[in-house]
Amino acid sequence: MSGKSFLNVATETINPLAAVDFVADDAHGAADVFIGTVRNHNLGKPVLGVSYDVFDDLTLNVFQALADESRARWGEKLNLYIEHYKGRLDIGGVSIIIAVSSPHRDETFQACRYIIEEIKKRVPIWKQEHYVDGDSEWVQGTSLESR
């Protein structure tokens, strides 16, 4: 039997406990949780906050593809929680959470790492940094063109 998935683009504050609770499973002994937050600096420049722009429909489709790929590689039983924030966050705000549970730990670390790496390259999300001097800039990313 396949594990369960929660895939979401959030416009309310991301709650880490909801992710932990969702993947909890009597048959699973391990969960790995990755949490991304807004840092107070980037490339040496002080940052005030970040706005995330998200193409929701395609993002959810890619999240589903990542869930399918993860189960194919690390086991059908994986429970997966993938949530990305859309909108503006201050320093320390949670932009993304990924939680993976499995009977054993190796699969949770590998799948969690795989999902965050793929998200950075494949999911239609863009980051605009807001600086102390009032300036804003869209962060350079990875082109989807060559795929």
Partner: protein, 89 residues
């Protein structure tokens, strides 16, 4: 006579500087995705003359289920999105 189709193209990320809502293009049916990008280039120049559109080369056209290949041909009116290089996480 060639029929035309209507493409609504949502703008994301750095393209939001042009306008917040989608851009509408009237194009000939059978147009390739690569050609749509050229038509979009012209439209964005019209909205904001002199804008730097280098970003468009690295950007992809997609619908809600997948990124489109450059040689795909479009024969129906539809909603698309122009996606600059991504940086989620």
């Amino acid at each position: 006579m060639q029929t035309s189709i209507t493409l609504q193209i949502k703008l994301f990320g750095a393209f939001r500087q042009f306008q917040n809502g989608p851009v509408t293009l009237e194009v000939p049916s059978g147009i390739s995705v690569a050609e749509v990008k050229t038509a979009l280039w012209a439209k964005l120049q019209e909205i904001k003359p002199g804008a730097d559109l280098a970003l468009l080369h690295a950007s992809a056209l997609a619908n809600s289920s997948s990124v489109l290949e450059a040689n795909t041909r479009l024969t129906e009116s539809q909603s698309l999105a122009i996606l600059p290089p991504v940086c989620g996480g």
